[in-house]
């Protein structure tokens, strides 16, 4: 409890500059130490009055998880943040020492007895490396949808005639459906020159595929360019490897989840920050969709994983 108040205090001290710090410190130091009751409550209270919503989610989720044993974290090395684990390890040790110093005094920061200087944070914290019990699971991207503008009107009948990998049925749909083998993708090419490319498993593959399609159209004689390439949607999936009580989850997270077993076997969780939709199934498999950036998917999964784990122990 006190360590979470401590961490929140750190967040505040970093986010809001000197005025707040000075005021806080003076405030908390002026009452004598016997007021240990009021001090932590005030420290905690002031911290809670602050609006921390602008901070990245990792910081706020960190608070509730810092109660777990953090030493194991340094051993669990997530694949793509390897260089950051050193920092998190550092912070862990600093945190631990800070904790032990704070332990006996049992109060918020800023009381006279502590050797703590709340003004300067211990380590330069990079908000992107949350000191949490990482899940160790990385969602795998399954599908990327992107759009690109070729910049010139196209004759779809001609394309369907000249290209081997194209299908065109104007009565059914007003676009040419073209496929390439490597990367295995499909695209819809419209007569305005705009194109939608689907099926790639990574952003770079999607870009490469879109370029190949543009090259094909170029070879067919159109002055195609490659303008405004944009990733519109990313879909990823992963498995947490334990069963999930969907009925319980929908009760506790009512405002975000929707579970109708008569309509769909999975629970639809609409996360607000980041704005991602997750399909959670009883088998523990999770599908994440609606992202425009890869980080949103990872962030969303790290947000949902503690919730799901919490469920499993109940």
């Amino acid at each position: 409890m006190d360590e979470s108040a401590l961490e929140r205090y750190f967040d505040d001290s970093i986010a809001n500059e000197s005025d707040f710090l000075l005021g806080e410190e003076l405030d908390l130091q002026s009452p004598p130490p016997p007021g240990k009751g009021p001090a932590p409550s005030r420290g905690v209270q002031v911290a809670e009055e602050l609006d921390l919503s602008f901070l990245p989610d990792e910081l706020s989720s960190r608070d509730e998880q810092s109660r777990h044993d953090n030493t194991a974290d340094s051993q669990i090395v997530p694949l793509d943040v390897s260089q950051d684990s050193g920092i998190s390890g550092d912070y862990n040790s600093q945190d631990a020492t800070a904790e032990s110093e704070q332990g006996p005094s049992m109060s918020g920061p800023g009381t006279g007895v502590s050797p703590f200087y709340p003004m300067t944070p211990m380590t330069p914290m990079t908000p992107m490396t949350p000191v949490t019990e990482k899940s160790g699971i990385i969602p795998q991207l399954q599908n990327i949808v992107s759009t690109v503008n070729l910049g010139c009107p196209l004759d779809l009948k001609f394309i369907a005639l000249q290209a081997r990998n194209a299908e065109y049925n104007p009565k059914r749909f007003a676009a040419v459906i073209m496929r390439i083998r490597e990367p295995r993708t499909t695209t819809l090419i419209f007569s305005s020159g705009k194109m939608v490319c689907t099926g790639a498993k990574s952003e770079d593959q999607s870009r490469l595929a879109a370029r190949k399609y543009a090259r094909v159209v170029q070879k067919l004689g159109f002055p195609a360019r490659f303008m405004d390439f944009k990733i519109q949607n990313m879909v990823a999936s992963c498995d947490v490897c334990f069963p999930i009580r969907l009925e319980g989850l929908v009760l506790t997270h009512r405002q975000f989840s929707s579970y109708e077993p008569e309509l769909f076997p999975g629970l639809i969780y609409r996360m607000v920050k980041p704005r991602i939709v997750l399909l959670i199934f009883v088998s523990g498999k999770v599908v994440l969709t609606g992202a425009k950036e890869r980080e949103e998917i990872y962030e969303a999964f790290e947000n949902i994983y503690p919730i799901l784990r919490g469920f499993r122990k109940q």
């Binding site: 044993d69 005639l161 870009r207 190949k212 009925e247 009512r254 405002q255 077993p261 088998s283 122990k313």
Partner: protein, 444 residues
Amino acid sequence: MSRSGLSCPGCGSSNIVDDDLYCQAQLVCVDCGSVVSEGALTNESVYVGASDVSYSRTTAGDKKPCMNLLKGRHHVIAMCRILRVNREIEDLSQTFYSRAYQHKSFIRVTLRKKEFLAGCCVLVSCRMRQWPVTIGTISCLLDADLVEVGAVYKEMVTVLNIEAPSFNIYDVIEAHSQEYKISLHVAEELAENHKDLTKRAVELVELAADTWVVTGRQPVPVIMAAIYLSWQSLKPNRHRLKLSLDKFCQLAKVKKQKPAAIRVTEMKEVLCKLGKEIPWLGETLTPDNVVCQVEDILKHRYALLRRALRAREEALLPESLASCEASPPRAPEVSDPNPAESPVERHKRSAEGTLAPGDEAGQPRMAGELAGGALESPDEGSNWGARALFAPPCVVHAKRRRVEQPELRDVTGDEEISDSEIDSYIRTPREAREFAQMQNMFLE
């Protein structure tokens, strides 16, 4: 007030005033008293142009509510009366319907969809007042497809921003069991009263929910399976045991749901697993003879659950120890639940001696906890479901997915694209000609 620019035709003076004494405004010369001009016979300020008068502004009365809205309201009331809901729900659904109807996402949809909307308003009001109704029932009333009604329901809930409670299977069991015409008009050995039937069905559904048979599945087949098993086990004589699920549904005049048979099998499997732990039972339990033991199993289900889970844990213990040593990072996760479990284990050992019903009182929560705790055994890739005693059937019988070969995945997106590759996607002129000819042939 004198008007500039006007001069009296009689005397030529410019001293003209507005005379508002009479009902018509007149411009009168002060000096000689002649009237310069009179107001128009009509009141111009009201009629801007004499011909542009809309019907609604002159003759029509108040705007009448839309006919379809009224019809829809009648639909809502009719459905409420058929379902015999109370007045509060009726009023609530009326309110929802009026609100939803006026909303822009529903004002221009087809009439059929408006009917669905009426049904969904009834559904959401019933849910909010804890009156159990399934979407299936509503779609039956509307004679529509469950999925379509579901889509309208979801849209409505989002549009009106209602926080409706989620579906609770236990509410619905009693209502459903009333449908089964199994108490009268059937043979003596086959008749059963609803109260007992429902009570046992509820226990069976609770057991199924604890062992992952219910989550994620359609609720009505689960209820059907539970009612069938409870009916069989209440008087397991040979008449009842002989009757299959199909015949039972015919007897009870209920439409059989296809998944119900699979649910029956799954529930019997669970019952067998639990029945194995009964100490006084000599014979081995198979799905055929387990029905006779259902009463005992249900009576002591929590204790049996604990025993079964513990037995499975002990069987897995040497395995998990080996895996612990093999992969240290996993150790915190595996050891994590153990502290939670050891106090439960101690409890179990103390309560071990008898399977007295007193066991059940304090233990259900712990049994649930234990069920949750013991089920985790995070495994690197192999089927964790096969190892757990109770796991969702979709995990136990996991589909083998075609593993997509990753191949080269260090694509930068800006690589060179070889001409030959692109050429392989373009037809040769001869091919194109032949294709065109073939198309023409088909089109003729």
